[in-house]
């Protein structure tokens, strides 16, 4: 996703640079004609506005860069506490990644995690059962 949006921005930038160069050349040509045409008096030296293709190229390239820049923005986060907390519970770190796939630096996770890991709430019997299973499994592997 990030590669696509950067590629879109780069293409738009090239088009915009080309349009800029064309417009600059056009205005240089106009001023050249104004100075040389006065001596010849063959052609009317009225100022010609920017050709339509340069105008279109400028607008289209602006739109393409705009699209690329919007695509490269970071995903938003819900501001309502209940939606935000629900997102954390459902998605965890997955929901708070930027476009490069890294977890945001200011991601704090569940703000009540400290309550859920209080010693009073540790299920000691479950942990003991898990430990016994682990010992059995490791012992079985050693014996083999």
């Amino acid at each position: 996703m990030t590669f696509i949006s950067k590629a879109i921005t780069a293409v738009g930038g090239i088009l915009l640079a080309h349009a800029c160069y064309s417009a600059q050349e056009h205005s240089a040509l106009q001023s050249f004609r104004a100075t040389s045409g006065a001596a010849l008096t063959s052609a009317p030296t009225t100022a010609v506005s920017l050709p339509l293709d340069i105008v279109l190229e400028t607008i289209v390239s602006t739109f393409i860069i705009l699209l690329g820049l919007v695509l490269v923005t970071r995903p938003l986060r819900p501001i309502q506490w209940r939606e935000w907390a629900g997102k954390i519970e459902r998605e965890g770190e997955e929901g708070f990644k930027d476009s490069n796939g890294e977890v945001n630096k200011d991601y704090i996770g569940n703000p009540f995690a400290i309550f859920e890991s209080r010693p009073n709430f540790v299920d000691i019997r479950k942990q003991r059962k898990e430990f016994a299973q682990w010992v059995k499994k490791e012992g079985g592997q050693k014996a083999q």
Binding site: L69, T73, L76, I79
Partner: protein, 118 residues
């Protein structure tokens, strides 16, 4: 008073609010200078330049809404064009960028107008 009660009932996460508005403001100031570049290339003067800026700035808001806000906002049950899932003020979202990027726009507009037509 009523808004205080509302905030008590439905609290708001300040970090998320700041993250969202910073993301949107970065986009707006970046794109405003881009619009200045193209307005300078087109050689726009006075009102037409500002009109160009207003149109493209609103287009930025619409594109940002379509790409970043709409997919999750509509699936969570919000109406179309409702930004209340990610931003507090709707008017602020749609027109806040006009003032935000105006300085950058005028800077690059005058610069590129001078570069191209000189």
């Amino acid at each position: 008073m009523s808004s205080e009660i509302e905030l008590q009932i439905a609290p708001i996460v300040q970090e998320s609010l700041m993250h969202n508005s910073r993301t949107f403001q970065n986009l707006q100031s970046l794109t405003a200078s881009l619009f200045g570049v193209s307005a300078g290339i087109l050689g726009l003067e006075s009102y037409s330049g500002f009109l160009f800026y207003i149109i493209f700035s609103l287009l930025t808001s619409v594109l940002f809404y379509i790409i970043r806000v709409a997919p999750t906002s509509i699936s969570s049950g919000k109406k179309p064009l409702d930004t209340s899932r990610y931003f507090l003020g709707a008017v602020d979202f749609w027109t806040g960028g006009l003032m935000n990027g105006l300085a950058g726009f005028i800077l690059t507009w005058t610069l590129f107008y001078g570069l191209v037509s000189a």
